[in-house]
């Protein structure tokens, strides 16, 4: 088995009385893409900040490329590259000037730096905009330069903290392809996201993080096994699920309500239905056998007057795993 490049042991971080990270342990293997998947406020950034030596852990330790945290933080910072969640660039400098600056901080100079800047600009597809000020860039272009700045010194391990937040689908596509190319080129990537699809598409292994705890860890196949043979019915609604439910009538045993954590009671008691929860314009229903449960679920929705536009049948996925483990959707 490949050796780990990163090992975190019981990392904790307290901000005052609030414990944002409550003892997280995991390893990242050399050459893999490891995703930390979790909703907003789960503690992903706090974990990354501890691993990139920006925040001292309240307790716990980590080892990166053979160097200890806390302790050998300078060597750790040399080994890693960081792509922060918030775009951290100088707006009034050009893309190239920005990259020159960040490259110099990683001890690169002269010809080597110039060549490397050309390479990463090519890699992120912005070679033709090198001379333009970053403030003239779209959100997606800024994100790509933000990534380029973390790649310059060819780190062994790259931290990417939600690098696709708030950008257009093309830029997102491009970034996801790039992450895979980086892995194929030999880089190890620790990737955080709250998009289940991204974690599924990219990751060799996934850690699911929620409220400061790592609640599941493994390959996608391993994780979905947790859910058992469950399948998912995804009901697409015309309106936001909460709004739609408020406008329909349930029954005594199955009221058309939605609780604070997003779980929906409308389908309770139907054979084969395990749980249901609302996510955006959808109601996600976990069932033992999709084919068997479909007629009853659709029937109950019709009776209640819920306007269902379409229904997807899905094999077990990470969303279902998260739902199974927490009783909530990822994006609530």
């Amino acid at each position: 088995m490949t050796p780990p490049i990163l090992t975190a042991k019981d990392l904790r971080k307290k901000f005052g009385d609030f414990e944002a990270v409550k003892g997280i342990s995991f390893s990242v293997l050399r050459g893999e893409i490891f995703s930390l998947l979790g909703p907003n406020g789960a503690g992903k950034t706090t974990t990354i900040n501890m691993l990139s030596c920006l925040l001292p852990p309240t307790s716990g330790t980590a080892e990166i490329a053979g160097h200890a945290i806390p302790g050998d933080t300078l060597a750790v910072r040399r080994a890693i590259g960081v792509v922060p969640q918030e775009i951290a660039l100088y707006d009034s400098l050009s893309a190239r000037q920005n990259l020159e600056f960040w490259g110099r901080l990683y001890d690169m100079r002269g010809q080597e730096l110039t060549q490397r800047i050309d390479e990463v600009l090519d890699q992120v597809g912005l070679a033709d905009r090198a001379k333009d000020k970053v403030k003239t860039f779209s959100g997606g272009m800024k994100r790509r330069i933000n990534i380029a700045a973390g790649l310059l010194h060819k780190p062994q391990l790259l931290f990417m903290d939600e690098p696709t937040v708030g950008i257009d689908p093309q830029s997102r596509r491009r970034i996801l392809d790039m992450v895979r190319e980086l892995r194929d080129g030999g880089m190890t990537v620790l990737y955080t996201t709250h998009y289940m699809e991204e974690a599924e598409e990219l990751s060799d292994r996934v850690g699911i993080i929620d409220q400061g705890r790592l609640i599941a860890l493994g390959t996608q196949a391993e994780l979905t096994r947790v859910v058992g043979e469950q399948e998912t019915l995804r009901l697409h609604l015309a309106e936001e699920a909460g709004v739609a439910l408020a406008g329909v009538n349930g029954t005594a045993g199955a009221p058309a309500t939605m609780s604070a954590d997003g779980s929906v009671a409308l389908f309770s008691g139907l054979p084969g239905v395990l749980r249901a929860s609302a996510v955006d314009h959808q109601i996600v229903v976990n069932v033992a056998d999709a084919g068997a449960a479909l007629p009853a679920v659709v029937g109950r929705a019709n009776t209640a007057g819920l306007h269902v536009r379409s229904v997807d049948i899905e094999q077990p996925n990470l969303e279902a795993v998260f739902l199974h483990l927490t009783g909530r959707g990822l994006r609530d």
Binding site: N49, L54, R77, I80, P84, E86, Y90, S92, R104, Y106
Partner: protein, 423 residues
């Protein structure tokens, strides 16, 4: 080690000067204001109610030659009578003593050999070593001293230009062969005497008429007020420039670039060193640019360049100290801006950037000494009056101010370092 600090400093300078609006504000702003204020207050003795009493000036003529006489005539001319109250004195030391006592704004000492130094050697056409008229200025009357100095400079420059014309004529005559080399000396003598030999001579009279005009229009009015307002506006905007620099200390934390630097193999000390150095370098470059520009555009004489440099460094360091203290005291970038603006204006007023206050209220005079503006302005005034030794005190005061402010800011930063350096 040093490399990373320099990298961060240079980046900050690029950010500061990379924004045209900022450049316009901190470079063009003071230029325009200095010119404007120079024009407004430059009407000295005129009918515009802003009447400043005539500037008392002592004239010691140890030369007695034709050009010294011409200078004295200019100073006592009708054109300058609203502006100057000249008094002839025989003894240079007595004149210096009276200036030191504040009885006169300046003394002009015309040393022996002054007139001859303008006349080219009749044989070779070469110029003798310059013998400059000395202006002893009262630091307590910066405007008056600057005006006197300006008049003397303008006069000297005029004469020198005419001399250059004579020389050129001689050279042409010789190279064209129109005059045989043996007669060159005699012709040179003639030309020289034609121009300067006698104040009643028509050529000399016209030269001096031109002088009077230039002195009273450009020389006497805005030009010398500019000599005061150029440094004072430059210093006012120096405080603003360091405010902009200090602001980035907190803005970079908020925008995540400061944490990103700290995630690179760079120590917290290097990051802070680079940021502080960047604030300093930005201020230093702004002040230097203004000095260069006013020298080129308005022929303003700032004095001995090396000592000007020393004073600029000291002023930029002291201003940086204030910038750091403001950043240390402010909770966020917005507060740095508003606090910085307030301090910039307050220091400008106290430090005499708009009007010299020191004679008005003694209490304000004492208070003005906490501002870098006041010390640096004293320094620049002394330098422009050629009193190099008098610059030492302002330079020393500015350096002490810088050290104290750096120490205080460091203490405050240390206390809130956790908050400052991490996101």
């Amino acid at each position: 080690m040093m490399n990373k600090i320099l990298t961060i400093m240079w980046k900050d300078v690029r950010v500061l000067f990379g924004d045209w609006a900022t450049v316009a504000l901190i470079i063009a702003g003071p230029l325009v204001l200095a010119l404007g204020l120079g024009l407004v207050t430059g009407g000295f003795g005129a009918d515009d109610g802003l009447a400043i009493s005539r500037i008392p000036v002592l004239v010691v003529d140890q030369d007695g030659g034709p050009i010294a006489t011409a200078l004295r005539d200019v100073l006592t001319s009708d054109d300058l009578s609203d502006l100057l109250a000249p008094e002839a004195l025989a003894d240079a030391d007595a004149a210096r003593a009276r200036v030191a006592d504040g009885e006169a704004a300046a003394a002009i000492i015309i040393p022996p050999g002054f007139s001859d130094s303008f006349l080219p050697d009749a044989m070779t056409g070469d110029m003798p070593a310059a013998v400059a008229a000395q202006v002893v200025a009262d630091p307590g009357a910066p405007i008056g001293a600057a005006v006197v100095r300006g008049i003397v400079e303008e006069f000297t420059a005029r004469v020198a230009t005419s001399v250059a014309g004579v020389r050129l004529g001689l050279t042409q005559l010789a190279t064209s062969g129109a005059v045989p080399p043996s007669e060159l000396a005699a012709v040179g003598q003639q030309l020289g005497e034609g121009a300067f030999g006698d104040t009643t001579n028509a050529a000399a009279a016209s030269l001096i008429r031109i002088d009077r005009q230039s002195v009273t229009t450009t020389g006497g009015d805005d030009f010398n007020a500019l000599a005061y307002f150029a440094p004072s506006m430059a210093l006012l905007f120096l405080m603003y420039a360091v405010t902009l620099g200090a602001r980035t200390l907190l803005a970079e934390r908020r925008e995540g670039t400061l944490p990103r630097m700290l995630a690179a193999p760079v120590s917290a000390g290097q990051v802070l060193g680079g940021k502080v150095g960047g604030i300093f370098l930005g201020g230093f470059m702004q002040l230097s640019a203004l000095i260069l520009l006013t020298t080129l555009l308005f022929q303003l004489n700032w004095g001995n360049p090396l000592i000007v440099l020393l004073l600029v460094v000291a002023a930029a360091l002291a201003a940086t100290g204030w910038g750091l203290l403001i950043a240390a005291a402010a909770a966020n970038a917005g507060q740095v801006t508003s606090l910085g603006m307030a301090v910039t204006l307050l220091f400008g007023i106290l430090g005499g950037s708009f009007v010299p206050l020191e004679n008005a209220w003694p209490a304000l005079d004492a208070l003005s000494r906490i501002t870098p503006n006041r010390w640096a302005l004293d320094g620049f005034t002394a330098l422009a009056s050629g009193e190099t030794a008098a610059v030492l005190m302002p330079v020393a005061a500015l350096l002490v101010m810088a050290v104290v402010l750096f120490a205080v800011a460091a203490l405050i930063f240390r206390r809130r370092q956790g908050a400052l350096l991490t996101a």
